[in-house]
């Protein structure tokens, strides 16, 4: 429908450019129209072809053209967009989504602007359609307050908040936004120390950048609303990455050393407590044992003493003989009656001893103390204790 195109001036009878239209052609058009419409205008089918088109046909043509021209003023504004209507170049109105009509070209014209589309610009890098981020050092490298260099990459999302301003006030709003972003981010980073930028200051910096960009864009009346500023990356420059990573590793090393020491401490102290507990328990056991044994010995002695006092001589005699019986019954005895032999007697003691050793069954060595396996930490001290206490322990019975 080339008829409907606004600005399709060739079809426009008012533009004055169709001077070359030949009258015969016009005639033919009119005739064919009259044939089709069956003489609505009351004129006979045979117009005076020799004299060119009649007044009636001109009127008809003009009316038709006018209707078509009027129809060409209808346009739709999609959801999320606004139409900017200008009359002879001057702003008239901003139209809302839906079907709208404007006085057709060349009197009024419409420019449709998307106000809800999220547009974005990238500063310091180019994402390049899903590929790896390509850094743009010229944009990304900037100085901090403490004269270090950082590599910062920002993405700024924006949308149009005022279609009229967006359309009329600034040439190339997107590149203006980019220039302003570059300037503002350097201002904000330049006010901050490097460590702050690289670590805890990120969100604060982003917020400051966003606010400042917005205020500059408002001062220019660009009609742009900054919806978000994303700090894609804030890093030390590539040339010094290694040393920065080493510093991070060093921080972890510090933690590791501390953890290892804690582990050592957690190992040693409880073990020492355990060993201490054993030492104390053992000595408590010794104390109880000694007292109990003393009581036992004394009780036995006291009871015997009571009986002894009733018949001292007999009891003493009996005890002595019984003891001797035991002692001599277990050992090998050699009786030597010295008075009954005048000559010198030879006792082969070494042979006797050897014979005894062959006969003897190795008897277990009784000990007063249970053999304990002391905890390793306590070993030295326990040995010291033993050294002094063993002597005492031995005098049990």
């Amino acid at each position: 429908m080339s008829w409907n195109e606004p600005g399709g001036d060739k079809k426009d009878p008012w533009s004055g450019r169709n001077e070359k239209d030949n009258p015969p052609d016009l005639d033919e058009v009119i005739r064919s129209l009259q044939d089709k419409l069956g003489g609505i205008f009351g004129g006979g089918k045979r117009g005076d072809s020799s004299n060119g088109p009649s007044m009636q046909s001109i009127g008809f043509l003009a009316a038709g053209a006018l209707v078509l021209w009027g129809l060409s003023g209808f346009y739709t504004v999609d959801e999320g967009t606004r139409g900017i209507v200008t009359r002879f170049g001057a702003y008239v109105a901003t139209t809302q989504p839906g079907l709208n009509w404007h006085i057709p070209a060349p009197i009024e014209q419409v420019q449709v602007i998307n106000v809800e589309q999220q547009r974005f610009i990238e500063v310091g890098y180019r994402s390049g359609g899903g590929q790896a981020m390509g850094s743009v050092p010229k944009e990304a490298m900037m100085l901090t307050k403490d004269e270090n260099i950082v590599d910062v990459r920002l993405a700024v999302q924006y949308q149009v908040k005022d279609a009229k301003d967006y359309a009329f006030n600034v040439l190339d709003p997107a590149s203006t936004l980019k220039q302003v972003t570059e300037s503002v981010q350097r201002g904000v980073i330049g006010r901050s120390d490097m460590d702050f930028v690289l670590t805890e200051g990120r969100s604060e910096i982003v917020a400051a950048i966003k606010t400042e960009i917005q205020s500059v864009m408002d001062a220019y009346k660009t009609g742009i609303l900054i919806t978000s500023v994303n700090l894609q990356d804030a890093q030390p420059p590539e040339q010094v990455q290694g040393s920065f990573e080493d510093a991070i590793k060093a921080r972890e090393d510090k933690q590791r050393l501390i953890n290892e020491a804690e582990a050592y401490s957690n190992d040693v102290v409880p073990k020492a407590r355990g060993a201490a507990s054993r030492i104390v328990q053992e000595s408590e056991a010794y104390k109880e044992k000694v007292i109990a044994q003393a009581n036992g010995d004394v009780s036995r002695f006291s009871q015997l003493l009571a009986e002894y006092k009733k018949a001292p001589a007999v009891t003493k005699q009996r005890m002595y003989i019984e003891a001797m019986e035991q002692v001599l019954g277990k050992s090998n005895n050699v009786l030597v009656d010295v008075k009954s032999g005048g000559s010198i007697m030879y006792l082969p003691l070494d042979k006797l001893v050897n014979k005894v050793a062959e006969d003897a069954v190795s008897a277990p060595v009784p000990t007063h103390e249970p053999v304990v396996a002391p905890a390793p930490q306590a070993k030295e001290i326990r040995n010291d204790i033993r050294a002094s206490s063993r002597e005492r322990d031995v005098r049990g019975r």
Partner: protein, 284 residues
């Protein structure tokens, strides 16, 4: 006859179109009469002109950008910095703009570039890098706008804003900055590691100390207990045995004989005239 009317209409349309001009929202227009400026600053919309006598020239009314080429400047401490700035401007007095730079935006940008660089040179030479980068940005901006505006308005230009984008160090200086950053990081790394060693040593020493104290206390307590036990035992023995020390000596000696001598493997060489053998030789 109809043809004539059509032709007349066509001619009228042509004449009409040549005797009006439109001014858009984004346009500034100058009207000339045989080369002489007769009007400017038209409101947007339709305006009349005389065909063939008047003609119009249109200029951009929007905010335009002069993106300056990066330039080296000398700072107060005689260091080179590379500065990249841009100027936002719009046509102010369109007649002056037309007469001075021929209405050509490119020309205007070249002139602006020179003006800005002259102004920036003096601003930058007054300040040190630290001030340029961090503290004085807005001050520089303000004084640049103030200094540049009068020069610009002689070209019919209104300065909207002057922004310094990049203040960078030249490559040779950047290298030394990187070296300094590396040294700084190395210092930090060393500090972290030695702090780690320090803390670890402290923790270990504390653990060892605790162990020694715990064990020493245990030793003390155990000796106290053993002493108590020994004392009590001695007390008990003394009380009981004190009753009849002669009998005790006898009794205890017998036990000792049994313990000490009553073992197989001992050889005892005896005289048969001890008390024990009293009845061994003669039964009296």
């Amino acid at each position: 006859m109809g043809n004539k009317i059509l032709v007349a209409l066509g001619a009228l349309a042509v004449i009409l179109s040549m005797s009006v001009f439109t001014v858009g929202e984004t346009e500034r227009v100058i009207k000339f009469q045989l080369g002489e400026i007769v009007g400017a600053d038209f409101q947007p919309g339709m305006h009349l002109k005389i065909p063939f006598i008047n003609n119009v020239k249109k200029f951009d009314a929007r905010i335009l950008t002069m993106d300056a080429t990066p330039e080296r400047f000398l700072t107060a401490e005689k260091k080179n910095v590379i500065v990249d700035s841009f100027v936002k401007w719009r046509i102010g007095d369109v007649k002056t703009f037309y007469t001075t730079v021929g209405g050509d935006v490119g020309q205007a940008n070249i002139r602006l570039d020179q003006i800005i660089k002259d102004a920036a040179r003096s601003e930058f030479s007054k300040r040190e890098i630290r001030q340029l980068v961090s503290t004085d940005r807005s001050a520089i901006r303000d004084s640049l706008i103030t200094n540049v505006s009068p020069h610009a308005s002689r070209l019919g230009i209104n300065i909207v804003d002057v922004q310094v984008k990049r203040i960078d160090l030249p490559n040779e200086v950047s290298t030394s900055v990187y070296q300094r950053m590396e040294a700084e990081r190395a210092r930090v790394a060393r500090e972290f590691r030695s702090q780690g060693s320090e803390a670890a040593e402290r923790i270990r020493a504390d653990a060892d100390k605790q162990r020694e104290i715990i064990l020493a206390n245990a030793y003390r307590d155990s000796e106290v207990l053993r002493g108590e036990g020994d004392a009590r035992a001695a007390d008990i023995f003394a009380k009981a045995y004190g009753e009849d020390s002669d009998f005790f000596a006898f009794y205890r000696s017998l036990i000792a004989y049994k313990e000490a001598l009553g073992k197989s493997g001992n050889i005892m060489v005896l005289e048969p005239n001890s008390d024990f053998f009293k009845f061994f030789k003669n039964q009296k």
